[in-house]
Each structure stands twice: as structure tokens, then as C-alpha cells.
């Protein structure tokens, strides 16, 4: 379990590094804001976060801020700010750029990858070979790295690693030189000590003659001087040796730190192959067996690399992480391909984001086919549009997007989204309905309130346009109402009928509603009747016009409004002309009846009946006059 935690920590570090080290990740966090808030200017290795805010600063590695990825919520915490990785502008931009790029399958790229693989095998193989500075393996590795540098996609990483190796080797050579110097010093010291001892032996030796005593005293004085001289030289040489040792140790430590920094940098830039080559080469160059990372074990970075078991992080830890990340990226890409084959665009997109984020320069990611990129780009584009559409409360668009996502992704569950949109749309429509009711009731205040609510809930509600049109009608209502009243006073029902859409708004007014309805109904009835009469008149050219005339006449007598209609009057005149004899007979009958010339009146009614036997006017007139005649006295 601890190992898993350690791995996740390493992942977060790597992902963080991925997001920080590249250019596109720079600028995350609100440095200027912190400074503006009057906090002390951060030093190298310090977090920019204002600790007074309660947020904990992010861990640091080599003075770099490390954003932490929370895999549970897919959010990244950076300087106290939580960023949705899947919906972050920078991540999105990087991912979208990748989706629009062609697969990197050029001959240069293939050659580069081939050499890289060869170099990896060489370094792995060399790990088992004899370690020796300046060995042929190291030379080949160095040359290979400089060859890799020729490919521009390498971005100078190989050269950087080669330089680090060269620098480390230079230090090793300098150390060796110092070691040789120290060895020479040791020999010289030994000789000096031997000579000193000899001088001391001579000083303690006994003379045989008195005459030699003066000479002996003189020699002793000379030996003492040499002894003293030798001792001084020995001390100097010993000091020089100690100094050389110290310089070697310091140079080695510094060299290790520099080399380790290069490996960590490669790892954080997601150059896993470079990191692996560096890690394997490290053991060649530094043969003392000490691979411990030279970082403070108490620092957060040290804890991130410590391996979860309390041991100090080593170069091997870096190599393990690089190898695991390579494997993880390849597995992600394998999953992407499989999920695309199953039309699981959502999961494929998530896996590809992870793969691109952690292994953008890996072969499996760089050579991912363009067809797959386009499919995912389409899905990604739709998904990207969904959130702004939802934020803009454009539920129609959201539903369209959800439907398309559903088509693209068999696993996409749109039920919650659809339910939410449908509910909001229904709410908006309900307010619109209330607005319509308020409009009819003449309640402007409530109308405005309901329209505002409907627009707030669903600004792009198509029914809002209808509401606006009704509003415009309300604005013009007074003028239309006056015009309507004028027309009704002039009994111009047909004008109202012809412009019924325009005058429909007066129906809002209860007072005019009835008049509007009656005018529309009246003219509708007249037109319907005229159409029917025209058909009948065409069927029987003799009695048809008589019947049409008499029908129109009857209706006109029943409802005086008929006579106000021009079309009615035209029809009446037309049928009166067509049924001239009949109309003449009827008119003459009425005229005679008024003059009390009942004989002539009855004869004319008879005449009219002869022309149109079903004439109700003629029949009624005949019956009326007959009764008068029968009751009269002659």
C-alpha cells in the first residue's frame, strides 16, 4: 500500500512537473497577486502562496513549484487554486494542439527512436559490464547522445545529458589526477620519513676518537636541521594530500548533484528515455555505489522520492519511476485504441489526456493515428462546448450536444443532463404561460416579472420571441383599438375580417372581444354562404339565381349587418340581375300590396312562384293577400 502511495506521489510529482516545466505550464499560480497583497517576496525554493490564506504551499523540487494532481476529482491543486485538468485552458490548449497535429512518423523521427532504443539497450547492457571511466561503452553512449541531438524533436535534451555525463567524467578524471598526486605525495612522505629516521639514527650513534667529537657535533647539528626540514616537508605534503582528498570529495558531490539534477529535469519533462539513460550511466560514472539523491530527506521533494518506506530516494528510484511511466503511457495508448474500437469515446478521451499529459514525447503517443485523433477531437470539441452552453443556460444546445455525445459514445449517460434541461425548459415555458395570462388580464407588472423569470431561466427560449411579438402588439394596442372602434362604427366588418391578425390584439380587451368575434364570424358566415350560393346558381341557371337572391334578401332582412357588407351587396345585385323577372314580380307584388291593389299583388306573387316555386317570399305574400281577399266584401 505504501508503495502504491509512493507511486501516486511520484505520479503527482511527474504530472506536476509536466505541467510546470513546459512553457505552456508556466505562469500557473497567482504570483503577482501574492506580491500585491503585501506578502514578502518569495525566495528560491519557497512557495508563492500566501500562508495566511490557510492554503498549504505546494511541494518544491529544485526550487520549482509542483502542482498536485488529485486523481479522485481530476483536479490539480496549484498554489491553493484548484484547477480542473480536463477543463483547464492550458491543458485544453495543449491537448487540442496534440489532436490537431499529424502523427510524427517522419524518417528522422523513426531514425531517432531507433537510435534511442539502441542507446537504451546499450546502457542497460552496460549496467552489467565492467565499470570503468572512459570505457568504450561510455564513449558510445556519449556519441550516441550527441547523434540524438541532431533530431530537432529532441529539443537538446540528449546534448544536455551528454554534457552532464562529460562534466561528471571530467570531475572523475580530475579526481583520478588528484589521487595520483596523493599517491606520489605518499611516496615522497615515506622517503622523507625514512631519511629522517636515518638522520636520527646517526645522531644517536657513538664516536671512537676524541678528535671525531668536534666533527660528530658538527654532523649532529646538520642532521637535526635535515630532520626538521623533512618533518616540515612531510607536514606540507600531508596537508596537500588532505586538500586533494577534500577537493575530490567536494567535486564528486557537486558532480553528483549536477548529474542528478539533469536526471530529475529529464524525468519532469517527461523525457523518460533520457532519464533512464542518465540513471544507468550514473552508476558507470560514480563507482562508489552511492546513488542517494542529494536532496534534503526532510523536504517535501525528498519525501516524494523516498519510496514510501522511509529510505532516502536514489537514482534507482528515478529509473524505476521513468520505466513505470513509460509502461503506463503505453498501456494508456493501448486502452485508447481498444476503446475507440468499441466507440467508447469518453473513456478513450480521458485515457488519451492522461497519456498526452504524462508521455507526450513517447513513441506510442506521438505516432497515434490521425483518424483516432480526429474522432477524439470531435468528441472533445462537443464536450468542450457543453459546459459553456450549460453555463449560458442554452438548454437547447446542451440537449443537442448531449444527443451527439450519446451517438459518439455508447457509454455516455445523458439522462441527468436531459432531465435537468427538460426541467429548466418547462419552468421557463410555465413562466411564459403565466406571462400570457397576465397579458390577457392586462397586468403589465406581472407580465414583465414572468417574462423576466422565463428569460432568466432559459434565455434562448424560442417562445420568448412570441412573447416579444405580443409585447409589441400591446405597445400598439391603443392605436389598433382606436382603429378597430372606428371600423366598427362604420360597420366595416370586412376590413376587420381582412386584417384579423392585426386586430386580434383587441380581443385582449373584454369590451371589444365580443365585437371582434362577431365581425369575424359574420364575414366568415357571409363568405361561406356566398360560396355555397354561387355553386347552386351555377347548377341551375333559372331557379339558382332566384334562390340565391331570395336567400340573400332573407338574410339581409334578418340581420341588417349583412347589408353593410359590400360583397353581400354586390352578390345581391348580381343575383337580382340574373333573376330579373323573379325580382321584378316580387317587387311589383309588394308595391301593389302597399297600394292595396291586392289582385295585382296576388297575380305578381303567383308570377314569382311560377319562376321559383320554392320562394318563401312569394308564398308568404300570396297567402297573406289571399286571406285579405277572401275576407273582403265585394
Amino acid at each position: 500500500m505504501k508503495t502504491m502511495i509512493s507511486y501516486w506521489r511520484a505520479c503527482t510529482l511527474l504530472c506536476g512537473g509536466m505541467l510546470v516545466s513546459p512553457v505552456w505550464a508556466q505562469g500557473l499560480g497567482n504570483v503577482s497577486q501574492s506580491n500585491q497583497q503585501g506578502t514578502e517576496a518569495p525566495k528560491v525554493g519557497q512557495s508563492y502562496v500566501d500562508t495566511s490564506s490557510g492554503e498549504t504551499p505546494n511541494p518544491q523540487v529544485l526550487g520549482m513549484e509542483i502542482p498536485l494532481l488529485d486523481p479522485a476529482s481530476n483536479t490539480m491543486t496549484y498554489n491553493g487554486a484548484k484547477i480542473d485538468v480536463g477543463n483547464n485552458e492550458l491543458v485544453r490548449a495543449r491537448f487540442e494542439k496534440y489532436l490537431q497535429q499529424n502523427p510524427d512518423v517522419s524518417s528522422d523521427a523513426k531514425r531517432y527512436r531507433k537510435k534511442m532504443n539502441e542507446l537504451l539497450k546499450l546502457t542497460q547492457k552496460s549496467a552489467r559490464s565492467k565499470r570503468e571511466i572512459g570505457s568504450e561503452v561510455l564513449v558510445r553512449i556519449g556519441n550516441g547522445l550527441y547523434e540524438l541531438n541532431e533530431y530537432e524533436g529532441d529539443s537538446g535534451q540528449a546534448a544536455s545529458l551528454a554534457s552532464a555525463i562529460a562534466s561528471a567524467l571530467a570531475v572523475q578524471y580530475a579526481n583520478r589526477s588528484r589521487d595520483r598526486e596523493n599517491a606520489a605525495l605518499e611516496k615522497e612522505i615515506d622517503k622523507l620519513v625514512e631519511r629522517t629516521n636515518r638522520y636520527e639514527s646517526r645522531n644517536t650513534g657513538k664516536g671512537t676518537a676524541s678528535r671525531d667529537k668536534n666533527a660528530q657535533a658538527q654532523k649532529t647539528t646538520t642532521n637535526d636541521y635535515l630532520i626538521e626540514h623533512n618533518k616540515t616537508k612531510v607536514k606540507k605534503k600531508e596537508t596537500l594530500g588532505v586538500k586533494n582528498d577534500a577537493e575530490s570529495v567536494a567535486a564528486t558531490e557537486l558532480s553528483k548533484i549536477n548529474f542528478q539534477s539533469t536526471i530529475v529535469s529529464m524525468l519532469m519533462q517527461r523525457r523518460y528515455n533520457h532519464a533512464l539513460i542518465g540513471a544507468h550511466t550514473y552508476r558507470h560514472i560514480f563507482r562508489d555505489g552511492d546513488t542517494t539523491l542529494k536532496i534534503d530527506s526532510e523536504s517535501q521533494a525528498g519525501k516524494l522520492f523516498e519510496g514510501g518506506v522511509g529510505l532516502p530516494p536514489t537514482v534507482n528510484t528515478m529509473a524505476t519511476i521513468a520505466a513505470n511511466m513509460r509502461r503506463d503511457v503505453d498501456q494508456n495508448m493501448e486502452a485508447v485504441v481498444n476503446m475507440l474500437a468499441q466507440n467508447k469515446l469518453g473513456e478513450a478521451t480521458q485515457s488519451l489526456i492522461q497519456a498526452v499529459a504524462t508521455g507526450e514525447y513517447m513513441e506510442s503517443v506521438a505516432t497515434f493515428p490521425i483518424e483516432g485523433r480526429r474522432r477524439i477531437a470531435e468528441y472533445w470539441s462537443l464536450r468542450k462546448r457543453a459546459l459553456p452552453a450549460l453555463n449560458a443556460r442554452d438548454y437547447g444546445t446542451v440537449e443537442e450536444i448531449a444527443a451527439k455525445l450519446k451517438q459518439l459514445d455508447v457509454d455516455f449517460d445523458d439522462s441527468m443532463l436531459s432531465s435537468y434541461c427538460a426541467g429548466r425548459k418547462a419552468q421557463s415555458d410555465l413562466h411564459l404561460r403565466n406571462a400570457a395570462k397576465a397579458l390577457k388580464a392586462g397586468d403589465d407588472e406581472r407580465f414583465n416579472a414572468e417574462i423576466t423569470k422565463a428569460g432568466t431561466i432559459w434565455p434562448k427560449n424560442p417562445n420568448l420571441q412570441k412573447g416579444r411579438e405580443q409585447l409589441e402588439k400591446v405597445d400598439n394596442q391603443d392605436a389598433v383599438r382606436d382603429e378597430f372602434r372606428t371600423l366598427m362604427a362604420r360597420k366595416a366588418y370586412r376590413t376587420v375580417y381582412n386584417e384579423q391578425d392585426k386586430f386580434e390584439v383587441v380581443a385582449i380587451d373584454q369590451e371589444l372581444k365580443q365585437q371582434y368575434k362577431e365581425a369575424i364570424t359574420l364575414i366568415g358566415t357571409i363568405d361561406g354562404m356566398l360560396t355555397q350560393l354561387e355553386i347552386i346558381a351555377k347548377q341551375d341557371s333559372v331557379m339558382g339565381p332566384c334562390m340565391a337572391y331570395e336567400t340573400l334578401l332573407e338574410r339581409g332582412e334578418q340581420d341588417a349587418r349583412y347589408k353593410e357588407d359590400e360583397k353581400y351587396r354586390d352578390a345581391l345585385n348580381r343575383y337580382a340581375l340574373a333573376a330579373h323577372d323573379f325580382t321584378q314580380a316580387l317587387e311589383k307584388a309588394k308595391e301593389c300590396e302597399q297600394r292595396r291593389e291586392y289582385g295585382s299583388a296576388l297575380a305578381n306573387y303567383y308570377r314569382a312562384q311560377c319562376l321559383y316555386p320554392r320562394s318563401t317570399a312569394a308564398g308568404a305574400g300570396a297567402r297573406r293577400v289571399t286571406e285579405i281577399i277572401l275576407k273582403a266584401q265585394f
Binding site: A585, K588, C592, R595, R596, E597, Y598, G599, S600, L602, A603, N604, Y606, R607, Q609, C610, R623, T626, E627, I628, I629, L630, K631, A632, Q633, F634
Partner: protein, 146 residues
């Protein structure tokens, strides 16, 4: 054929001329007067100059005139024993002429639709129950079956 007759009150004698002239002249004058003067209607004859259209136009103008009309019964309206009979004349079957047939006028003649009869009629004015004038009614005085 129906022939219109005039009242004897309008007739003027030609005898003073005959007395003032010779006997031959008298005879010629008498003969001419006989030829030129409208003859008095004879009961039971048809009046060919009677037109329903004239009657429809202005019946009052015919008030006092008598006609013997051969006509076909088209319709009968009854009030008690009195009847208004609509008849058609042979010269204009499309027209209907209303005739008032009082009770007992037809005698033993049974007026039935579709049959033709000779109606002896007089154009008269009458009064209704309120005393108002009822003009130009053809009142049947006698009916004969044909």
C-alpha cells in the same frame, strides 16, 4: 275568343245624321255604325285581349270590366266556402290569374285542379273588415264547365 265589351252609357246615336241625310245615307250610316261600333259582350264568350300581364301591372284600370275567360284551374285557396282560384289562360300558361269564387257561385260545377272552365268575371273593388279598400279583384259571377 274573349272580347272586351263597353258600357251602353257611352254609346251615341247616329240617327240625327241619318235623319238629316237621305235614306240611302241612313242605311249606309246604320250599316257603318253597326260595323264600326264595338259590339256588346255576349255572356259565355272568350275575351282574347285580356292579358294577365296587364292585370298584374294595374288591375284598378280594369275595374268594372267583365270578362268571360276560359281558364284552367291551377290552385285553390279556401276560406270557409269562399275560394281564391289561381287559373292559367291558354294564351299564357306561365301566368296565374287569381279569381275570387264566392260561395254558391259555381253552382253545381265542381272546381277541380287541372280542369278548364269558363269563368264569367267582373273586376271589382271591395272593402275589408276595417273598411279599407281592396282594389282590382276578379270576382267570378258564373262558372261553366267545358
Amino acid at each position: 275568343m274573349a272580347r272586351k265589351r263597353r258600357s251602353s252609357k257611352n254609346k251615341k246615336s247616329q240617327l240625327p245624321l241619318a235623319l238629316g241625310g237621305g235614306a240611302a245615307v241612313l242605311l249606309l250610316a246604320v250599316a257603318a255604325a253597326v260595323v264600326m261600333k264595338p259590339s256588346a259582350p255576349k255572356e259565355g264568350t272568350q275575351d282574347s285581349r285580356f292579358r294577365v300581364a296587364d292585370y298584374r301591372a294595374d288591375a284598378s284600370r280594369l275595374t268594372g270590366n267583365s270578362y268571360a275567360l276560359s281558364a284552367r284551374v291551377e290552385n285553390i285557396e279556401t276560406l270557409g266556402n269562399d275560394r281564391v282560384v289561381a287559373v292559367s289562360l291558354p294564351n299564357n300558361p306561365q301566368e296565374r290569374l287569381p279569381l275570387l269564387v264566392r260561395s254558391g257561385v259555381s253552382g253545381r260545377v265542381n272546381l277541380t285542379r287541372g280542369d278548364t272552365f269558363t269563368f264569367y268575371v267582373v273586376c271589382r273593388n271591395g272593402r275589408d273588415a276595417n273598411g279599407a279598400e281592396v282594389k282590382g279583384i276578379m270576382v267570378v259571377e258564373k262558372v261553366e264547365a267545358e
